[in-house]
Symmetry: C2
Subunit: 244 residues, 2 copies
């Protein structure tokens, strides 16, 4: 959707966002300093721009509202995730693909552990931010679900399966992320995430078939009642083992 | 937590809520009439109380805010769900139990299909209500997750499993509920819900053991490489079938 042109006519907002200019970062830093000193509710946009030494228009150029300064990178991350999902060949195992997409969000948090922990504590204390975060999480979940709905389009229960798996992935991701944030960003976030997403993959995923030259020798499974006579069981196995 | 006493000293709010007095229902009816005629944002609490013929204080006695009049029964339903989960003996299969808890919410919608469909259409149109609904859904999800966390307390990954299953149950429930609402409350909501929750149960549930007198004859499963010699397979089966 966004232009990949680098011509001078390119939208200046997009260029500014790509370059992460000091002004945007200064606004985030000023906002968090004030949120921690005075509390979120007691801090106004005017306070933030005064501390950052810029005008109100500059604030609203980067952030639609005060809530958005608390989650400054989620729009970019949502766009990255959507692009990642769209970039597949369509042959990827779908559940593994949405798990990898969820790992992009972890990456955003792990980039800057101190900031992520600060924000986690702030969000827990301010009900309005908690509600805002729920709406952000919902958008991630919908992005995963839309991808899965397309991949499962030929299944009769495709939409249901897509919605359930997307919700399970988001819940697993958030469980691992919150454990890591509660540990003050200590510990191995990636290992915790792999473990959490592994639960979803084992419940819903189908491993891709291995390359032909790596396939293990065929396996035969025979199920029999314990009370069946042995000759009947042997006959069944023999006919299975010798079948083409 | 709430008193079951019927003495005159009982909290009048609780008594009023139990009895579903005409005033509360009149406020909901007036609110929806205005929301549909003028739109949600254009309707004030003053408009609602004027149409219902009551004072502002009466409105706020029943509803903390204008959003709450759109979801008048969720507090009761959340309380019912929490009570249902707490009332178990602790022997119930946990995933089946949270699925049954989710069915209580469907019951709330199915009680009054016309109202539920009206609200669904309104919620889709008003972003503020959508956000409010997300916070309600989150509370249901937490109630299910808290129950599962307690049931899975002895498992190392109990909290993770609880969060993932709670999210999957809520997503399955909402998928079935929304399909039913989109069909204008036609169709068999219960069958759709059973199918949706069945997906979660098959992914995460463990069926309870049947009573001893209903257990089917034991089954023996033998897994063997196709290339194994027949005598080796027969030996294995024989020793399994004759084992105590």
């Amino acid at each position: 959707m966004s232009s990949s042109s680098t011509s001078p006519g390119r939208d200046s907002k997009a260029r500014a966002a790509d370059a992460k200019p000091p002004m945007r970062e200064a606004l985030v830093a000023a906002a968090f300093q004030l949120f921690l000193e005075r509390g979120y509710e007691q801090t106004t946009v005017d306070d933030i721009v005064a501390l950052a030494g810029v005008g109100r228009r500059s604030f609203f150029r980067y952030f639609p509202s005060k809530e958005d300064v608390v989650f400054p990178d989620h729009e970019r991350c949502l766009a990255d995730m959507t692009a990642f999902l769209a970039a597949g060949t369509g042959d990827e195992e779908p559940v593994g693909r949405v798990c990898d997409a969820a790992r992009l969000v972890l990456g955003l948090y792990a980039e800057n552990p101190a900031f992520s922990v600060q924000r986690y504590r702030l969000t827990k204390k301010v009900p309005g931010l908690r509600a805002y975060e729920l709406s952000v999480v919902w958008r991630y979940e919908r992005a995963l679900a839309e991808y899965l709905r397309a991949r499962f389009a030929s299944r009769r229960d495709g939409n249901l399966r897509a919605d359930v798996i997307a919700a399970a992935v988001v819940a697993a991701h958030n469980n691992a992320l919150r454990s890591w944030l509660r540990s003050d960003g200590q510990g191995d976030a990636t290992a915790a995430m792999d473990h959490a997403l592994g639960l979803v993959q084992s419940a819903f995923g189908t491993a891709p078939p291995p390359p032909a030259d790596e396939r293990p020798e065929d396996v035969v499974v025979v199920v029999s009642r314990r009370g069946a006579p042995l000759w009947r069981v042997v006959q069944e196995i023999e006919s299975t083992l010798t079948r083409d």
